[in-house]
């Protein structure tokens, strides 16, 4: 392990948790379970490109567990964990192919975050009827993913200078 990275882990994890908290303060006028901005993903994507995929993975894991326990409780933790891990896996995969821009990676992340959450939600309520929400969540994943990707791209421009 590169010890120079440790301060970055702490800094980025703290930022990601903070983003998650800020997000809770912003009301979203869509009464569909699972629709979120995904502000924390800004930090995860920045880390993916600024450092490396492995570091971003650890920070994502730490963020989900900590903010889950702090703000959401155990059930909420399971939803966000499944969403975050699925979305991270897809983002890492797309980034590796090198065929997508940072915005594309972010869009895929947003979409699969929602897909992951709905799978766990359907398992939790033991009802496949949850799939009814899938179209709305796919569209919202595209929109939020795009916004998040643009924010991350802009921030990275400043970071690299």
């Amino acid at each position: 392990m590169d010890y120079k990275k440790i301060p970055y882990y702490g800094l980025f994890a703290a930022l990601a948790i903070l983003m998650g908290y800020v997000e809770m303060l912003i009301p979203i006028p869509v009464p569909i379970p699972g629709v979120k901005l995904g502000l924390a993903n800004v930090i995860i994507i920045i880390m993916m490109y600024f450092m490396d995929t492995k570091s971003a993975f650890f920070v994502s894991l730490i963020r989900v567990v900590l903010s889950g326990l702090l703000f959401a409780g155990f059930a909420g933790l399971l939803y966000s964990l499944s969403g975050a891990m699925l979305s991270f896996a897809v983002m890492a995969l797309l980034k590796k192919t090198d065929k997508f821009s940072i915005v594309g990676v972010s869009i895929a992340g947003g979409v699969f975050h929602n897909v992951g959450q709905i799978i766990v939600a359907a398992l939790a309520v033991e009802n496949v009827k949850m799939a009814y929400y899938l179209p709305f969540l796919l569209v919202s994943g595209v929109v939020t993913g795009m916004l998040i990707g643009i924010v991350a791209k802009t921030a990275l421009g400043y970071l690299k200078r």
Binding site: P31, I32, P33, A75, Y79, K99, F100, S101, V103, G104, I107, A108, V111, A121, A124, V125, E126, N127, V128, K129, M130, A131, Y132, Y133, L134, P135, F136, L138, V139, G141, V142, M146
Partner: protein, 120 residues
């Protein structure tokens, strides 16, 4: 944005439209509403009678109301209140979900009694 990014967007939107059409194509005016908690059927109300029912779950309560053939959640003590803000539902396949209480309100085309016709 690269071309592949756009492809991704188009794919996601097409999938969304496809699933939406699949649901709305088979949708007709529902006959009843089935309320399940944690996968277990709790109650079944016909849509043609105005009625209200309080469902107590392990995690809290929800009050589901049928009015003029439409179903909505009037009250709940869950933390996100998404089910209360949800639009009224009346067509088959439409659902209202209260995730914190694992409660699902689903419109069906079935009459009360033929529960085995519910396709899971």
């Amino acid at each position: 944005m690269k071309k592949t990014d756009l492809l991704l967007v188009v794919l996601a939107l097409v999938a969304a439209a496809g699933i939406y059409l699949f649901y709305s194509a088979g949708a007709e005016k529902g006959k009843g509403v089935e309320i399940t908690v944690d996968g277990e059927s709790e109650a079944f109300l016909p849509l043609d009678t105005n009625d209200s029912i309080r469902i107590d779950t392990e995690d809290g309560y929800n009050i589901v109301t049928v009015q003029d053939g439409k179903v909505f959640v009037t009250e709940a003590d869950c933390r996100d209140q998404i089910c209360v803000d949800h639009k009224k539902v009346s067509k088959t396949g439409e659902t209202i979900v209260c995730l914190p209480h694992k409660l699902v309100v689903a419109i069906t085309g079935d009459e009360p009694g033929d529960f085995d016709a519910v396709v899971m």
